[in-house]
Symmetry: C2
Subunit: 605 residues, 2 copies
């Protein structure tokens, strides 16, 4: 039996199929997978195609979806028709697999095609006949339009019986070209995936429905590695110096992630074993330790890690509790200390596509900065230190119950405490508020020195400045037993170091790109900390470049958002690989000007 040439417009591609093949099959062969959210029932009308030649007689299902005029023009439901003659078909873009979702990033909305690596499709195969005696695997490959479909032999063993018992109607779950599962009949369940943002301090997991892009459940917790060490460098040192150190850190994060997967699954009332894919965005060290690869080389110049490109790991190798034939994808990194989290941020903000010069700043334990200008990108990582997360600040703490999170200084001091509790410390935002307020009030000089100007003598503020020399401090809150929370001279020095490192990094990138701060069209603040910082105070202490305040935008947890995009969209994942390769790494430690700029940046504006 000879094959029919089916020509597709507007692409002009031609597929050759046996007479009687479904329109869907021919389209898939031509690289135009048609969406069938209703599973080919003819009820959703999403698979509309137009026969430019020889339209078949309309079916009842066609009559329900199209007007008489449309029927006359040749519009039909792709899922209901078979091909009996060589025809030309128009497949409109909206019929092609990949549904469009909107993702919130700052003030703009980014359209994302939901076209995940993990898919679940119902297929109706033509049973074998004497004229079409192809083998079962070839039939399944053609039905899915995936010539390279890989069916693991343990599934292949079940295929002949399954196909025949189910009347050649099955639901196939695939990850890339690999088959996870084949089940009889129509399985209406959506494919499920979990996106992880593994921060040095915090881990966020989002369970997603990969058919429509919905978030089904979210879990967040401290990175369990925090029990061993706070920052990246200390964790690398544990792996290098302690026997079994890597195993301990690797085990802790994988167990933690498995618990979070179980937690989100329970919230959404699904089985963890039905989750087919996990996508991870984290800094390079977090991704290395998650994969179980020794991060030692990141501890020594030239910081060349074990892997940096996007990595796929078989789920069976990591005890995460998801489907044993599922997969884990780790986002690509740019360089040693510019990891998958930064690339995820690029993906989420669409930085490369913005017309004007734009800066993306993600302040966490490390500070990552990316400057984009007309599609070119420069990136740097600064060892900001964990000051913004409370470390090295005498009464610093994370944003938890009892933390002062906001400080306003206007004649006296007003504070806001998290969790309706007595204040016991201050978190990063309050640290910036306090120093910005003290700078404005004149209690801190631009050099960072705490001192009482004569004009404030006898005011309530003066009463809060206590001690001398290394004990000099400004009291933010009194408690029943005396001072509850105070800011010391040393704390201000720590903030100068942290803020100065970021500011100097920004200065180097601006210089590299030939852009002045005033040229910046937008400054995007990402990360948990970035989302709570008060812009005017961050500007006051010089953490951010001197731009009009309305150009500063919060873009949320960009790393988590990027991980979700990579989970939802195979093209987004490919884009992440491109972005990672295209971004120029600016090594601050090798930049002769950095120390100079750092020293400058230590002075408050």
């Amino acid at each position: 039996m000879s094959e029919l040439p089916i020509r597709f417009e507007p692409s002009g591609r031609t597929a050759h199929v046996l007479p009687g093949s479904a329109v869907l099959e021919a389209a898939a062969l031509a690289g135009l997978p048609i969406q069938t959210p209703c599973g080919g029932e003819g009820t959703c009308g999403k698979c509309r195609v137009r026969f430019l030649t020889d339209p078949p007689p309309p079916l009842d299902a066609d009559r329900r979806q199209f007007t008489a005029a449309q029927l006359d023009e040749g519009w039909r439901l792709g899922c209901r028709h078979e091909l009996a003659a060589p025809v030309r078909l128009l497949v409109p873009a909206e019929s092609v697999y990949g549904t469009t979702q909107q993702i919130l990033t700052s003030d703009q909305r980014v359209n994302i095609d939901v076209a995940p690596a993990l898919r679940r499709r119902f297929v109706k195969l033509a049973p074998p006949t004497l004229e079409d005696d192809r083998d079962d695997l070839a039939r399944l490959r053609a039905g899915l339009g995936t010539p390279g479909l890989h069916v693991p032999v343990e599934l292949l063993r079940t295929l002949p019986t399954l196909l025949r018992d189910s009347g050649w109607e099955v639901t196939v779950t695939t990850l890339d070209d690999g088959v996870l599962n084949v089940s009889p009949g129509r399985d209406p369940a959506s494919p499920l995936g979990v996106a992880f943002d593994i921060g040095t301090t915090t881990v966020v997991a989002t369970l997603m429905d990969l058919r429509d892009g919905r978030e089904l459940a979210v879990a967040a917790r401290l990175n369990p590695q925090v029990q061993y060490a706070d920052d990246v460098v200390s964790r690398i040192r544990i792996c290098i110096e302690q026997p079994g150190g890597l195993d301990r850190l690797h085990g802790a994060i994988v167990r933690g992630c498995a618990e979070m997967i179980a937690e989100t699954a329970a919230k959404a009332r699904v089985a963890a074993a039905d989750i087919g894919e996990v996508v991870v965005a984290g800094n390079t060290t977090m991704q290395l330790i998650f994969a179980g690869v020794h991060p030692g080389p990141l501890g020594v110049i030239p910081f060349a890690p074990g892997f940096a490109q996007g990595l796929s790991i078989e789920a069976a190798v990591l005890p995460l509790g998801i489907h044993p034939r599922g997969g884990v994808y780790l986002l690509p990194a740019i360089r040693g200390f510019l990891g998958g989290d930064t690339v995820a941020g690029l993906l989420a903000t669409g930085l490369a596509e913005l017309p004007g010069p734009t800066l993306l700043i993600d302040i966490g334990t490390n500070g990552e900065i990316v400057l984009a200008k007309a599609g070119r990108m420069w990136a740097a990582s600064t060892a900001a230190g964990p000051a913004f997360e409370g470390a090295r600040i005498s009464q610093g703490m994370r944003a938890a119950v009892g933390a002062i999170e906001k400080v306003v200084i206007d004649g006296d001091v007003r504070i806001n405490v998290l969790g309706d509790a007595p204040p016991v410390g201050l978190c990063g935002t309050a640290l910036i508020d306090a120093v910005a307020g003290l700078l404005r009030a004149g209690l801190v000089e631009t050099t960072g020195r705490l001192q009482l100007p004569e004009s404030l003598a006898g005011t309530p503020l003066a009463a809060r400045l206590r001690g001398e020399g290394t004990q000099l401090r400004f009291v933010l809150a009194e408690g029943p037993d005396g001072e509850a929370v105070a800011l010391t001279q040393r704390d201000i020095r720590e903030l100068q170091l942290a803020s100065g490192a970021i500011r100097a990094g920004i200065a180097i990138l601006l210089e590299r790109a030939g852009v002045s701060a005033g040229d910046l069209e937008s400054v995007f603040l990402a990360g948990a900390f970035g989302n709570y910082v008060r812009r005017e105070n961050a500007l006051r202490i010089g953490l951010l470049p001197d731009v009009p305040i309305e150009r500063i935008h919060f873009v949320g947890n960009a790393a988590s958002m990027g991980a979700k995009l990579a989970l939802l969209s195979q093209p987004a994942r490919e884009r992440a690989e491109t972005l990672a390769r295209a971004t120029e790494h600016v090594d601050l430690s090798a930049d002769m000007g950095f120390q100079m700029k750092f020293a400058d940046a230590m002075i408050f504006p």
Copy 2:
């Protein structure tokens, strides 16, 4: 005990063996596996070698096979001698089982580039510097020139330490794009693979050095599934009808193959776990059962099997004892009963490239026929039935000890019996000899009827025709207790059926291609049976089309040769996929003319 250097001529290769080793073993080590169709009994004379130095004293078996002059020249039976001193041996080409890089097809030799899927490469990587701070994986990918290199995470975990400890010099073993192993420094060992020809009756395994294409060891044995049933159809029925039937047959063949792998590895003194790939050519049923996929659909029209395209299976799934990250590749099939063995035959004979019309016939339990004409190919499978392997013949048997393997009828009957034993039955070649002889003598009519022409009354031949009606028979051998082996009227009918099916299949293919028998430039006979049949007798009974005898060529075990080529050459493997797709399947059961032609073909020429 020190090893003896044994030098082989004309190749000049030297093998080192322990004193007392068999000549066969030394030859196999030198890549010259010597054929022993009689199983090393010293009776077939196929294993002849010539001692160029220090010939051992001749044995009785030598005296039976060689003239005194030949014995003086140093000719001996390779299967009967052990090595006690360093000697030079001449191994004539016809004694070698298969050949290494040159492949005999009819009169021409095909050169094959050794370019296997399994490779082992030494790479020297540049250590990371500040200017080149790529990650280890990117460095390895670039060093091997394989951007898509897949390093399983368990190996990736060892990579950073391994690369640094080995001074960035490693040996990498890859199968396609997947890494099997990374070892420090330069590992001189060759990559190893085993090619299997899994026949319904016989299994042949060849362990190969994939660097130079040498055959290191060969093992052959009965397919262990024979204990359950002789032919393909009965084995399919076992899988359908018996609970656990498939598991039993699958387990038997996989265990058998594992034992053969261990056997070849032991012969070649390598570890089975160092074998990285196995390639399998077998008929569709054998390949399905080997993979553990139910062959049931091959038992019913339209014979659409579970898989037919070439299939890669992770070694970890099949307990063959090879490298756990190794792979198993099954050759593609054309259609239901035209399996990987036929495609392997196409590969080995280069049929598609021959200018003139050529026929390839592989007669085994089934008969597969392929006709090639100017690059186009038509293929058919005939249910020849196992008559040629002895089944359904009253005293039929395989070519084993006690089998009459040759019959000459010239006034009286002369026979040759395998294994120097009293005759107990006859094998396929003798069956054809006998019927051809009886046709020539006039004792069998072209209709197949046994009868005594008046002219032979009173001759020794007449005395051999005994019985009447259904008991009518021709006695081939007398024993001490009366008739030892006889050919019955029913046996002749079975031969008519078997031969007629093949002849009718050939006729249909010739018709399809518009070729007459006289146009055929060559007829290739493949398979164990095909290699022993006497051409003039096969022509006489009409098993082969009417061509001049010099156009009929023996091409050896083409399936085994094709499996070896696919193991040695990735391009050959891709070519197998192309050949399988390009060959037109002619379904004889659906051909209206087949029954007619079959009836015609039942009449002897």
